[in-house]
């Protein structure tokens, strides 16, 4: 879940990292008051979660409170990337000598957080890494062992920063890493971190994201920041189909059968298990298939829940057939999922053998599962058929049926 900039800055401030004397305003009058308090030139920044604020006119400079109010009014009415702003951030226009980058991100490959530092800030760190790799210092940190100043020092020094600068930045990067760990974050970034003429450092912008699943654990922080527990903060609003998927998932505590994303294809997918969803979705597309949806099923859902998901997918306009495929399952039962998807077909008045293009779930209770599939004449495979091959067969089936219909 992403935080708005004003929330991210507040998190940074609470961690003891110097920030500018910014304020968050929901109305032009509030923006004016904040500009008055700041008492000098200010920057008015739209608070939206989409990028491209500058280009869209969502960042403007003002020399007086009146100008700040007028800019705030314009920005508050400006839609950026399909989102209306939550408010505006009013920030003193800082005199900056140099901009740096400080960040901590989750490295999914190493399964560890990595501290990143660069004396080249204000632009995307990916661009700096590609064009000036010697200017980027990195170091993984443990999620278990205590965090040391040394780790931060090493990261910064690897980017070629030394002396007094190094000493001043070390506590900033260490505190950033501490808050990353404390709040279950996947991204904590200060960009730019500005060096002011007096040699001090201040966070000029911040981007933060926490693990979605950590929202329960981080309730206190979210409440303090005024984040509504029901806010999803997705890049786009969930569609009615996706909301219905969430309802299926939350209707029963057993297992997972949800996390649905809508696409416009004709092959409905009931997929999952240990990364299986992503692999299968990609495999279907690689074989020329057009998925109608993405979803995740696993953790041994009840028959009712599996049926609910399958019914939802089968009822989606444009869906001709569904493919039910998973990696080898150990904690999800093949027979239970088989019962669920067949029940969905039957309750909707479909012949399961017709509607289920392919079933490939090997693993726990597969003997019972295969007996059920045989009884209903469903095309299925065991573990000797790879995920890729299963996806190919499902696509072939739906394309074959369409060709047949054309003839």
């Amino acid at each position: 879940m992403r935080f708005f900039e004003y929330e991210a800055r507040e998190i940074v401030r609470r961690a003891g990292i110097p920030v500018t004397d910014f304020g968050f305003a929901k109305t032009p009058a509030e923006a004016r008051e904040i500009a008055q308090r700041i008492g000098g030139p200010v920057v008015i920044k739209s608070q939206v979660l989409s990028g491209g604020r500058m280009k869209a006119g969502g960042v403007r400079f003002a020399d007086s409170p009146e100008e700040a109010e007028a800019h705030a009014q314009a920005i508050l009415a400006l839609e950026i990337g399909g989102h209306m702003p939550r408010g505006v951030l009013v920030d003193p226009k800082a005199e900056v000598e140099q901009e740096y980058y400080a960040g901590v991100v989750w490295d999914g490959t190493r399964k560890l957080p990595v501290m990143i530092f660069s004396p080249v800030g204000g632009i995307d760190i990916e661009q700096v890494a590609a064009e000036q790799p010697e200017q980027v210092g990195r170091r993984h940190i443990s999620t278990i062992l205590p965090l040391s100043d040394f780790a931060a020092k090493e990261t910064i020094a690897r980017a070629g920063v030394s002396g007094g600068e190094l000493t001043k930045i070390v506590p900033i990067l260490r505190r950033l890493a501490e808050l990353f760990l404390r709040y279950d974050m996947t991204l904590a970034e200060i960009n730019p971190l500005g060096r002011l003429p007096d040699g001090s450092f201040v966070a000029l912008d911040a981007h933060m994201e926490i693990e979605n699943e950590a929202r329960g654990r981080q309730r206190e922080l979210l409440l303090e920041l005024g984040v509504d527990p029901t806010e999803t903060r997705q890049a786009r609003e969930a569609t009615p189909f996706e909301i219905a998927g969430e309802e299926v998932d939350s209707s029963d505590h057993r297992g997972v059968a949800g996390n649905v994303t809508e696409f416009d294809g004709n092959l409905g997918l009931v997929i999952g298990a240990g990364g299986g969803s992503l692999t299968l979705f990609d495999a279907v597309r690689a074989h020329g298939g057009r998925p109608a949806n993405y979803c995740e099923i696993g953790g041994n859902p009840s028959v009712r829940k599996a049926a609910g998901l399958a019914k939802l997918v089968l009822s989606k306009p444009g869906v001709e057939r569904i493919a039910v495929m998973m990696s080898i399952v150990s904690n999800t039962r093949v027979d239970i999922v088989a019962r669920g998807v067949i029940k969905a077909c039957l309750e909707l008045g479909y012949d399961p053998a017709e509607k289920i293009a392919f079933f490939r779930i090997p693993g726990a209770w597969e003997e019972e599962g295969f007996k059920i599939l045989q009884k209903y004449g469903i095309d299925y495979a065991d573990r000797s058929v790879s995920l890729n091959e299963a996806a190919r067969r499902a696509v072939e089936k739906i394309q074959g049926a369409n060709e047949e219909a054309v003839r």
Partner: protein, 89 residues
């Protein structure tokens, strides 16, 4: 008493169904709530509990055998309708 789902059927002998203590234990052991105690108000003035097989839960049966282990031999049958009515043993 027998209730059929799409995949599973559950049958309890009349004698077992009338045993209130057994009914209570069946309701307790089944992990997917296929057995329920219903106060038989009309028949017994609200004093006795009758065993009910919950039709909407029958297909949730996880074939765990806990009901078979709880009841005297043959008193409860779990039938796999997808496997030529094979009995769960």
């Amino acid at each position: 008493m027998r209730v059929d789902g799409t995949f599973i059927a559950v049958e309890v002998s009349e004698q077992a169904a009338a045993d209130q203590e057994l009914a209570r234990r069946l309701a307790e052991v089944c992990p997917v709530d296929i057995f329920r105690l219903r106060t038989a108000a009309a028949e017994s003035g609200g004093s006795a509990d009758a065993l009910e097989i919950v039709a909407e839960n029958v297909d949730e049966c996880v074939l765990c055998r806990l009901c078979l282990d709880t009841a005297p031999a043959g008193a409860v049958k779990v039938i796999k309708l997808y496997d030529n009515e094979a009995l769960l043993a």
